[in-house]
């Protein structure tokens, strides 16, 4: 089947999630055409675009838009899908992908699934596996539309290289009157730190840290490991830490390779946001803390004693690398 992938660029480059999406698309296509589309106001160079061939794209379409608005990207993606007769359209399950996906689905009268964590099972119709109940289960959803829009979960699918260079061509799309109705007045990006939603390693801390003045060691450990920092809800509610660090049911859902939870009890609402992490480490002075039940590694001990030791060991490891 023909597959179209939304290749989201950021400052003229592609992030890892795009390589994952193209590799995924190649698998889904099963020999059909794999087309990647980049709709951006800051278009990557043709070389960068063509490099998507490495991950399996046959063709890369580029479409310059006036401003990087999700509505404009959705218009371009939907018209490209018609142009290439795409049966499956793939976006990343991130904020931008999830802003675009529904508009594309309506334009194409397509089925839609978000939080997708499997390649489609086409043995009997078309179904994909996705996370449901905030990490407490998985569901298999059968999609009956002729066209399907899939938002795939980042850090889930392997990047597969081995393809060749893709052809790059311009794509002129019809952009609707609504595309630029939402105007951006300012963007506030996390500076000098790894954004939590993209982090592969996360060091997180909770009320066990006693107060905001004690986060120095959390930040030091995170920076030595190259990790982002996160926190539990009460910590954000008390303004010990910025709100965008709050993970869990009512915060951000993350799926890093490593999640280190320090002084966090492991309430069910907290686990909802982090339980899909590949490796979970828990440091808590209470051996009965529920978090230990979902942990791979744990230390029953006082954070104020344990964390400095981890920092020392991380320094040693870093200097050896």
């Amino acid at each position: 089947m023909n597959v179209l992938i939304f290749a989201e660029s950021s400052e003229g480059n592609f992030k890892k999630a795009v390589f994952e999406a193209v590799s995924y698309g190649k698998q889904v296509a099963e020999g059909g055409e794999v087309v990647a589309l980049c709709a951006s106001a800051q278009m990557p160079s043709d070389d960068v675009l063509a490099s998507l061939g490495t991950y399996g794209a046959n063709k890369v379409l580029k479409s310059a838009i006036q401003e990087d608005r999700p509505a404009a990207m959705a218009d371009v993606l939907a018209s490209a899908a018609k142009e290439v007769n795409a049966e499956v359209i793939i976006v990343s399950n991130n904020y931008n992908g999830k802003s675009i996906a529904p508009a594309v689905a309506v334009a194409l009268d397509a089925s839609i699934a978000t939080g997708v964590i499997s390649v489609p099972d086409t043995a009997n119709g078309f179904s994909v596996k996705r996370g449901v109940f905030s990490g407490k289960g998985f569901g298999h959803v059968a999609l009956n539309g002729a066209v399907k829009v899939l938002a795939i979960t980042p850090n889930t699918f392997a990047i597969q290289e081995g393809g060749s260079h893709a052809s790059v061509s311009d794509f002129a799309a019809s952009i609707g009157a609504n595309a630029y109705q939402v105007k951006s007045s300012s963007i506030d990006k996390v500076q000098g730190k790894i954004p939590l939603t993209e982090a592969e390693l996360v060091v997180s801390a909770g009320r066990g840290m006693k107060g905001p003045e004690n986060w120095g060691m959390i930040e030091e450990l995170a920076s030595l490991l190259g990790a982002a920092t996160a926190c539990s809800k009460p910590v954000a509610d008390m303004d010990w830490r910025p709100h965008e660090e709050h993970v869990g049911q009512t915060g951000i859902t993350i799926k890093p390779n490593l999640y280190i939870a320090i002084g966090i009890s492991g309430a069910i609402q907290h686990l909802a946001g982090v339980s899909s992490s590949k490796v979970i480490v828990v440091i808590n002075k209470d051996p009965e803390a529920p978090f230990f039940k979902v942990a791979d590694y744990g230390i029953v001990g006082d954070a104020f004693d344990v964390v400095p030791k981890l920092i020392e060991a991380a320094k040693v490891l870093k200097s050896a690398q």
Binding site: A71, N94, Y95, K98, S99, P102, A103, A105, S111, I112, T114, G115, G131, V132, F133, S134, G135, G137, F138, V141, A142, L143, N144, G145, N178, Q181, V182, K183, S184, S185, S186, I187, D188, V190, P195, T197, E198, L201, L225, H243, H246, T250, L258, I268, Q269, A272, K278, V279, V282, D296, Y297, G298, I299, V300, G301, D302, K309, L310, A313, L317
Partner: protein, 239 residues
């Protein structure tokens, strides 16, 4: 507004893992929808207007719809259809809303049960309205709104003219809880049940599975804390 299992629900599946086990489950207003509702009330209290709650669902969700009236919504409408997927829900709401003149339509960022996060965007597309996703701040001044939305790696402040659709993220406001007066007042507020327009679903959850069981935790003595770093490096290979 969607109605979902309480956040402390222990999730299990029945009928050979083809159904969510609703036995003993308490239902609540989706947390993000509580925030939308409260913000809508704050805006109308300051600037005039009314707040309508719309829910697609069967009669068993009516207690939560009543609760929304008790929190302060002026009226509620229930479209009497099973909310089998977001495609159906958004289409039903769009059909119903098409001939009404709302200045603002708020949804939640996602329902905490199926975590789809699609209904708001689908609805906006059906109605041909601008859509602002994952909004943690929303102010309206005359015919224009200013909103702060989450973007990958940060936040963006945007301006948009009314009417539009936005989806609520935490921090939008502190949700209100109903008081006795609100509960009494809710009894005489209109809760209209309307027939569905016949939209069909485009996705069906057919089976479920539990997350794989975790093996027992490997404990490291606090005195040997440094060992953790080498395990993560050599054994787990994550750092």
């Amino acid at each position: 507004m969607s109605v979902v299992p309480d956040t402390t629900t222990k999730v299990t599946f029945t009928d050979n893992n083809t159904k969510f086990n609703t036995a003993g489950v308490q239902y609540i207003i989706n947390p993000y929808d509580e925030m939308s509702l409260t913000r809508a009330l704050e805006l109308t209290e300051a600037q005039g207007g009314t707040v309508t709650v719309i829910h697609v669902g069967l009669a068993d969700s009516e207690p939560s719809v009543r609760k929304a009236l008790a929190i302060g919504a002026h009226e509620a409408v229930r479209i009497n259809a099973e909310a089998s997927d977001a495609t159906l829900v958004a289409k039903e709401i769009a059909n119903w809303a098409a001939d009404k003149e709302f200045d603002l339509i708020l949804t939640g960022r996602e329902s905490i049960d199926y975590n789809g996060g699609m209904t708001g965007g689908l609805l906006a597309a059906h109605l041909g309205l601008p859509f602002v996703n994952v909004v943690s701040k929303l102010d309206i001044n005359g015919g224009e709104a200013t909103a702060v939305r989450d973007i990958d790696g940060g936040k963006e402040t945007v301006q948009v003219m009314l009417p539009f659709v936005a989806s609520a993220q935490k921090d939008l406001t502190e949700p209100r809880i109903p008081n006795m007066r609100g509960i009494m007042a809710a009894r005489s507020k209109p809760l209209t049940v309307v027939d569905p327009g016949g939209a069909s679903a485009k996705g069906q959850h057919q089976s479920y599975e539990m997350p794989p069981a975790k093996g027992a935790v490997q404990l490291i003595e606090p005195d040997n804390a440094a060992e953790l770093i080498s395990i993560l490096h050599n054994e787990a290979k994550v750092i």
